[in-house]
Amino acid sequence: MVSAAQAQSNGSTDATILAQNYRHRLHQIHPRRTNHYSLRDYLQFDNQRGDITDWYNQRVTLVTEDFVIGLVEGLEEEVGSASALVMYRIGEEWGKRDAVVFKQHFEQEYHRELRKSALTFLLEAWWWPFTTQGWGNWEVDLTEQKNGFMFINIFDSVVARTLGDVGKPVCYIYAGLFAGFFTGLIQKPLGCIELQCYAMGETYCKFLVGKQDRIDAAAFWQNEGATARDIEKRLRQGELVKQ
């Protein structure tokens, strides 16, 4: 089961109503508590109202694996091979909006500016709600950050786990989410591509996040049949596609 939070944006009347109506009790009692990522702490199940809210008073919906299959296959039926791009764009928009919401939450919670915080720490703060809500554990490799790219490993991707071994990458929504979030975070356009996927028989999913020239190069090599390891090696060696 996975859940998705409905992100609120400041200035919206609806968002204000949501914020007034939904209050996470544990958060109210312990506003400074930072270890709140167990499912029972992070989510508040209100039996009387019949709703679920997260730590930040956002409405949350639980969905089944059937929903995920329905979403992916329904989109494929509607738009064919463009469904990958549509899912990526959905993720990208989500990520961009989430970068704005995350900045507010982070600065309220830790009383420090995002740009003055250790990147590794703020990334953990960003991803933990996703982990809690069933989007999988992650591991970020920032060793090539100075060279304009980074790798993210996702263990237990909800999309790949649900679809099973279909022989191709399927986590386009994750790729879009990472592209959108990191674009929003550093205010520079970034892209993302899934280099290996659990749905290709791998043990985990691996994503490359970086400037568009890196992503284009990786996509080219991938189309030529290169493995994730080959692509990673080429990128680490500073190789780009010859124009």
Partner: protein, 156 residues
């Protein structure tokens, strides 16, 4: 224990609980006084425990709390205090799952984010030994599984 009680109340709804199902409750109640006593001893000796841990860590490595020119003694002490309090609560309620899911798994990623794995490894080797010193022979085994879980997750 609280989670087990919650589970039992759900599963035994509309029927009597079996003897086997009540076993955890009997075990908990049998040691409840020792749990409270151990909790109170840790609570009352908190500063002493933290001081001793700090002394032992400094004895092992004088600059253990330094990173470059920055001294992180106060931050590390705050974090150890947090771990000790949550560990003591987990022992009191006999709820290791809550400690693991609600704190340790998250905190491990924070330790990793700040590259503090080595300091954590030493810290959570020393902490159980110091905590044991304030507990009686009957109380120490109640804290042992909590400390072992903490060490295995944070001190890997």
């Amino acid at each position: 224990m609280l989670r087990q009680l919650e589970k039992l109340s759900l599963e035994a709804d509309g029927r009597y609980a079996s003897t086997e199902e009540l076993e955890f409750l009997k075990n908990y109640l049998a040691a409840a006084e020792q749990r409270i006593s151990a909790y109170e001893k840790i609570r009352d000796a908190e500063e002493k425990i933290l001081d001793q841990v700090e002394q032992q860590l400094r004895a092992k490595s004088p600059h253990i709390f330094r990173k470059g020119n920055q001294d992180y003694s106060a931050v590390c002490r705050r974090d150890r205090k947090h771990v000790l309090r949550l560990a003591a609560a987990a022992m009191l309620f006999a709820d290791l799952d809550a400690l693991r899911d609600g704190f340790l798994l998250w905190y491990r990623t924070i330790i990793k984010a700040f590259r503090d794995e080595k300091v954590a490894q030493v810290t959570y080797q020393v902490l159980p030994q110091v905590v044991n010193q304030v507990l009686s022979a009957e109380e120490a085994p109640l804290m042992q599984p909590v400390m072992a879980l903490t060490q295995s997750i944070l001190g890997e």
